[in-house]
Symmetry: C2
Subunit: 481 residues, 2 copies
């Protein structure tokens, strides 16, 4: 490598040193000042061109988006906002960029427009910052679990099991749709399909993760999961990355402790390793909110909001208590909720979750012990309460602005109770023998949870649309690039 | 957590301390000695039961596979091979295991049998070791790249692009196969499909990775990729994890340097962080090879083989030179190769790669500058040689026993050359406009490569079938669990 990366140069104090910079032109002012970015930093380095001794042929090719190589001396900068700049002695063009055609102009583009050119948007400051924070959060997840001797576990992506019922699934097939094989009954013959059976994309690696937890003790997955749901919201993707730890001998309280520690750890890691990016994103959000009426603006700026998570214990409250709070709440009394809370058993909507987090407790909330009927079959059943109401050891962590950040539970380790619940909800045991074996042979209390990685990135970057925190979002009618 | 994990206890010297162990019974001898494993270590801790003061009701439930809680004193062990043991004062059963039904008996099971019970096989020493090494390698990959300021990049899994041609693809659909929508021409109407078009599972994240490299400089992907190929071999999977770094301003030599450094780093990391696991796997392999004739046994044991990789520079040789070596080789002269090498242009088979690595150079080999016709369209074209033969800046790294461990290249950054090559091989440019934009706007020399993660695990663990290094292998007619 003959060149030095810009992030390193910006931190350097080796004034007078000869350096080579390679990167892309962000702006070129006065035939003299090139702002160059190579992606290593959200900040550009300025190269000052000796335009009298640089051929016109070169000068006119220094356009936004062009790739250049600049050789020169690292010198102290007189401009503000930068410590160093490069006094260029040699400028050459590596790759041109026709300014008439290049879609990224040196001006503010809307996020909607940038979504349409998602293949180029990471060349902007905003997306450089977003994906650097995404990178930091991803590594922090691994580091958190590795430091605690958890085993990183790859649950399968293609699955022959469709029993979990966490959501609608995508079919995976190599059958020729124009000439589908049929059996004697005239049904499609999946025995002819690649895997010899009907297969789908996984909606969760949890069930396989449970198998692993009962072998290794503590494991985590971190991989893509899929939901074929027709939800066109700012918080849903058809393809998203999920982190799913699963721990043998963990009860619900241990599970909550771990989830809270994980979230605080990764947010702190991002703050510590991406201070410039988060500062940039804080200012972006302040700027964006300027156009909103005062009462819709955030009370806290991005950095204050992140520190608020770090500095506060998450509020732990049962579903039953939460329902009482919601019933008595002003928006419920005044019928401002779209879905009024009338009785125990109601499924909580986003508006209720946000009320609890943002208005009532004003901090992250861990809601526990939900009614059995609104939760998954594998959750550990509590003893019925005095009124005979049946709950499960679920735990959902609710974050301001995001709603559900974590969904988890202690798992039902009792074979008979699990089988009874599966029968009630119509999951055929014979398809789940491999899963049930964990309850047959050395069953132990165990717990786990799932974190939607993009929601974590959304929260930490202060972005407001989940399509802006994953490189190429997959949503209904959209699988570009 | 009231209990301490066994790995920690095995390293402890706090004799006399009261401890609680939770784990699964591996064996129970003489109504007295329980070997307990909790997955934290391949090694068990021994608990010595005071059987005279333990109810028969408990003793008879201490069976292989049962989960137990043992409270007692940590004491120095008199047995060999262990430093400490637990003098139990209290034993309770957490989860039973019916010895008549539990498939894992305290004896040696074949790998074939264990593959059929893949949901339980990670409870064995061999698979505990394999997946601990897999975990270490995965984290080492992240650490290597993070230490070098590469951005972890998530290329999409579901893709609307099928142009790369790296292999047969799986279709992803939510269409009802029993009643497919048809357009006026009677063709299946993919506009009605979830994404409004025909979509597949990715075969490689490279093309999207290139977009990112030309924004961030250096990036890497690490995610699942898919090939719908009907290959039932010990080296192929339909679903496997791939690591794909991509670097702006890297030429082919930089690419080779990085790949060699990565492989050495991750293998060294596994050796340093999993010494017990690799020792165990070394002995497993020696044991397995005892049944083979002397001339089929490995010359080096597993640890020697791994150190051999660390201690040697990889041999860098052009395809053209390799062909000369192969032509003159004994197996070619004596017609022992299945595919004889007769002329320049021949595609190298596994037998040729292994000859070069294992017989001729006796070390990892980086083969470069392959004929253009046998490589992908996006590889950078060399100037034709004196005989007018056209090669590309490809680089494949060949490992002993494995064959291709890495496939990479410098990419063709010249738009006209790339378009011409795409036209020759029949890739429609209009489907690839987003990719071609990288060559239109600030195009720069760049390079990258792909590492099949399971092949890396295969090599580092000394296992011989790729189905044994991924939790739940997906192969033709097989998508169990």
């Amino acid at each position: 490598m003959e060149h030095t990366r810009i992030k390193e140069l910006l931190q350097s104090e080796e004034y007078g040193k000869e350096v080579i910079v390679k990167g892309w032109v962000r702006t070129f002012r006065n035939n003299q000042f090139i702002a160059i970015n190579d992606g290593s930093s959200i900040n550009n380095i300025q190269a000052v061109v000796d335009f009298e001794n640089t051929p016109d042929e070169i000068l006119k090719r220094i356009t936004t988006g062009a790739a250049v190589r600049v050789k020169g001396q690292l010198v102290e900068s007189l401009g503000k906002g930068q410590k160093v700049e490069v006094k260029a002695t040699e400028v050459s063009i590596i790759g041109d960029s026709d300014p008439e055609k290049y879609p990224l102009q040196p001006k503010k583009h809307s996020l909607e427009f940038l979504r349409e050119i998602a293949h180029l948007r990471m060349r902007t400051g905003t997306f450089n910052a977003v994906f650097k924070v995404r990178n930091a959060l991803a590594f922090a997840v691994h580091k958190f679990f590795q430091d605690r001797a958890f085993v990183y576990w790859h649950s399968p992506i293609i699955t022959g099991s469709d029993a979990e019922g966490a959501g609608e699934m995508f079919r995976v097939t190599t059958l020729d749709l124009d000439s589908l094989p049929r059996n004697e009954q005239g049904e499609i013959d999946y025995k002819e399909d690649f895997f010899g059976k009907s297969t789908n994309l996984t909606v969760s690696g949890q069930l396989e993760g449970e198998l692993a937890a009962l072998a290794f003790g503590n494991i985590y997955t971190f991989g893509p999961t899929f939901r074929a749901e027709n939800s066109n919201t700012t918080r849903h993707l058809a393809e998203f990355w999920m982190i799913e730890p699963e721990m043998a001998f963990y009860e619900i309280e241990d599970n909550m402790d771990l989830a809270e520690a994980l979230l605080k750890y990764v947010i702190r890691y991002a703050l510590e390793t991406c201070p410039e990016e988060i500062e940039f994103l804080k200012n972006r959000l302040l700027e964006e909110e300027k156009s909103k009426p005062q009462n819709e603006r955030s009370e806290l700026n991005l950095i204050e909001k992140l520190n608020f998570i770090l500095d506060n214990d998450f509020e732990r409250v049962t579903y039953t208590d939460a329902i009482e709070i919601l019933k008595r709440s002003k928006p419920n009394q005044k019928k401002q909720f779209k879905y009024l809370i009338e009785e125990w058993g109601a499924d909580l909507q986003s508006e209720h979750e946000r009320y609890l987090v943002e208005k009532h407790f004003k901090k992250p909330v861990i809601l526990t012990d939900y009614p059995r009927e609104i939760k998954s079959f594998y959750m550990k059943q509590n003893e019925p309460d005095a009124q005979g109401r049946q709950t499960v050891k679920a735990m959902d962590i609710l974050f301001p602005g995001i709603g559900e950040m974590v969904g988890g539970s202690q798992r039902e380790e009792n074979l008979e109770k699990l089988l009874a619940r599966m029968a009630e909800v119509g999951i055929p045991a014979e398809e789940m023998e491999w899963f049930l074996d964990t309850r047959r042979f050395g069953s132990v209390p165990h717990s786990g949870f799932g974190v939607g990685f993009e929601r974590l990135v959304l929260f930490t970057t202060g972005m407001t649309n989940i399509r802006d925190v994953i490189p190429f979002p997959r949503t209904p009618k959209n699988a570009e690039f």
